[in-house]
Subunit: 249 residues, 2 copies
Amino acid sequence: MKKIMVVGLGPGDKEHMTVQAVEALKEAELICGYSVYIDMAKAVVPDTPTFMTPMTKEIDRCRAALDAASKGTTVAMVCSGDAGVYGMAGLIIELADEFPPVEIEVVSGVTAALSGASVLGAPLVHDFCTISLSDLLTPWEKIEKRLDAAASADFCIAIYNPMSKKRHDYLQKACDIMMRYKSPDTVCGVVRNIGREGEQKWIGTLQQLRDYEGDMFCTAFVGNEQTTVKNGLMVTPRGYQGKSEWNER
Amino acid sequence: MKKIMVVGLGPGDKEHMTVQAVEALKEAELICGYSVYIDMAKAVVPDTPTFMTPMTKEIDRCRAALDAASKGTTVAMVCSGDAGVYGMAGLIIELADEFPPVEIEVVSGVTAALSGASVLGAPLVHDFCTISLSDLLTPWEKIEKRLDAAASADFCIAIYNPMSKKRHDYLQKACDIMMRYKSPDTVCGVVRNIGREGEQKWIGTLQQLRDYEGDMFCTAFVGNEQTTVKNGLMVTPRGYQGKSEWNER
């Protein structure tokens, strides 16, 4: 059966890829993706042919990948993080019926919420949301509504695409919305270049996060009302009854 | 430096572990965890000594692990899925100061939201929440509030611990809450035994999910208003402007 694999590579280096992702790269005869992700894959399989398109040409990229797969080439479409979370798996499935049938295999990976959390400590131990602040494909009103709802119900929140050159004030707006419900002292964190060279982390308060100067390589984390800092690490308890009851359920 | 690693093993088999998790297991001199997770680790390192405690003895388990690490044994505390998401990383960090200093390394892994999503297709391509229906450590009112908020803002939702013998009607209650905002026709899915022998998947509607008969090995997925079924797979679009605009940003 002709096959396309949509492969989540995790945050960057091979160490954070799953065994299945490494195997998928080795199996692939053609690797498709955005140039940065192609470079991540090439660290594992330097000699496999590649096809890249710029960041905003996702549909062209997916169609090229599906076209090659439907003609008999085993293709890996690579994404950073997970294949599904803000990744290409959905678009591949949506576009697949334009081509002769191919098997679609989704290979999950460690998304930035998880890999970033492990750098900060354990900020997402309880219920959490991921929210992207990119309004390229989503109306800002929808993003605002999600920030409001997530904050009102005391979710931990992992914020993807918190800032970019064009969107320098979005994180400020997002923090202002969350502070409708969350204390300005809520413990927050930022990780930059997760799992890559130059990895940096920062831990502070929601009020400080509002004015944090980062870039598109950052993922931000907002705690819930129980999140604390312990030995320099950001920690959210598993439950609300206190650790002494863990052994008494 | 003395070291304890909190290792997320992913859904089950070695294929879904990260390269880093496999290396951590190989490095460990003692593996601590709940018996099911110990078995997952033993498939990789059958000869490493282990220490297990029953499911409800998490504090004892963490203290034993920290005690061993502080005395010089390199310890891996293993969790299914991610080390942080409903995992042990938080408790290890919280309890660490009862013992002489040890380095704590959190090794992230593929949590059930991601691995289950890859089985169903791509249900979590846009903003999503994880919500656990277990009220052992969290008041049910808090869980209800989160279900309500997440549904009101049209999040995709991954539901952990959707049912157990003692909580046969919780998923019904949860679906009723989500149907305050979400259509009964919202596309939903369930994956059982993700990444393990006997893996099963089901795709249906929110109304049908309400009466789904599952068990504690299930993870449930609720789509957003744009989630569809395509070629038997559950798919959530990346954005709200339609795929034709992907190339025109």
